[in-house]
Symmetry: C2
Subunit: 244 residues, 2 copies
């Protein structure tokens, strides 16, 4: 039976980290609330589940995954669940290393989101532009280098080689790292202009993931939504900085 | 062998979610960098590990757990690892429900932190007081009720009874929920003054956890650090609001 992915229509958002894992593995899945596959019923089903007064496993927010009767909420949790089934996570204790990396990626994703929404996630960016500029400046000056230096070290210090974040084969954390780097380049093209010279291993990982046949086919397909200004990674030129 | 918990000295912070699980289970552990047990070597060991240029499993930040040779980073990941070993998580697929709840608690913890640090985690609160007031106001008006209504529903809709967030026995998510509610009451005493009337099941869960013998003994001990203004939950009266 196909996995059912529930996520907002029209943006990559956090759903994209799940899509990349499903696409890499060639796993059957239905993107329940996506416009091209949906006549409105998927969106309704998602909202009904979120608002259900009887369902035992209610998610706080999309994305969530349904696999038969099981509902798995939270992006990193979905990848934890899917990882071994899709061949994208080890069965050994190394799975805790992979999940720890995924949670650190998730932390950085939240911080990237908060560059344009530092005050209120329920209000428009335009209502919080001044604090957004302050937060984005701090993010680019301090947080992005701190996170990326860390991930570059993780690659450099992987005893099985610097081609993967953990172990000797591709995991969901590598796929998510690709997405994070892509998103940062979209949102902050000036600040990331010299990304490859600062973080050569991460830049190679990004290229290697993009070149994987299933990922390349996915990125070229209509299933891959473009980045836009409703997602996590938004290109507002006034929030970008010069290359460091 | 005792578990080794690595966390900053002097604050509850994210380490506290791990401590509560270890204390409830009566598991042997060493709080490596805690002042009362440390002559400075624990702190040095923690910093050496974070800065190691050879270690394969480098954490991004504390807390992290060492169990023999395995290093487990990220609070929710540590609880995922410890849960079954400590009898605080089911082995069935319900563990994904528990972990999903933990990750949603973690999201709210980050938002609680950001009420006093909305712009730059590396700067003092005093440098971001104005945006902190805006973020705290939004948090108390919108985010806290949204999260807490959700968790109250989770209890109400648990088919095994409203005494636990998932299943029919205590999990690490229940312990973390206790800590989250405690922290919110410390930080925002006015805004939470009517907490029990809005969220009666959560208030009962909070009391039930506090009354568990091992938790009660821990809370009364010197091992339980008091809340203070270096942790996640900080009481700045100017960020608090009237009870809603």
């Amino acid at each position: 039976m196909a996995y059912e992915l529930y996520y907002w229509d029209g943006l990559q958002g956090r759903g994209e980290f799940v899509r990349l894992a499903l696409e890499e593995a060639g796993a059957p899945y239905v993107d329940i609330a996506r416009g091209s596959e949906d006549d409105g019923q998927g969106q309704s089903a998602m909202m009904a589940l979120l608002g259900s007064k009887t369902e035992a496993q209610i998610p706080f927010a999309p994305p969530f995954l349904k696999d038969g009767d099981l509902i798995v909420p939270q992006t990193a949790n979905i990848l934890l669940y899917l990882g071994p089934k899709l061949g994208l996570a080890p069965e050994s204790d190394l799975r805790y290393t992979v999940h720890g990396l995924q949670l650190t990626i998730a932390d950085m994703v939240t911080e990237a989101h908060d560059t344009h929404h530092p005050i209120a996630s329920g209000q428009y960016y335009e209502e919080q532009k001044a604090p957004a500029q302050a937060r984005a400046a701090d993010f680019l000056a301090h947080r992005l280098p701190k996170f990326m230096r860390y991930f570059e070290r993780v690659l450099a210090q992987n005893p099985q080689g610097d081609g993967h974040l953990a172990g000797d084969s591709l995991t969901y954390a590598d796929l998510s790292m690709f997405q994070l780097i892509e998103g940062l380049h979209y949102a902050f093209p000036r600040a990331t202009a010299r990304f490859g010279s600062h973080y050569p291993r991460l830049a190679r990982l990004r290229k290697a993931v993009a070149a994987r046949p299933n990922i390349a086919a996915y990125l070229a397909s209509e299933r891959r939504l473009p980045f836009n200004e409703t997602g996590i990674f938004r290109h507002y030129p006034e929030l970008d900085a010069k290359a460091h």
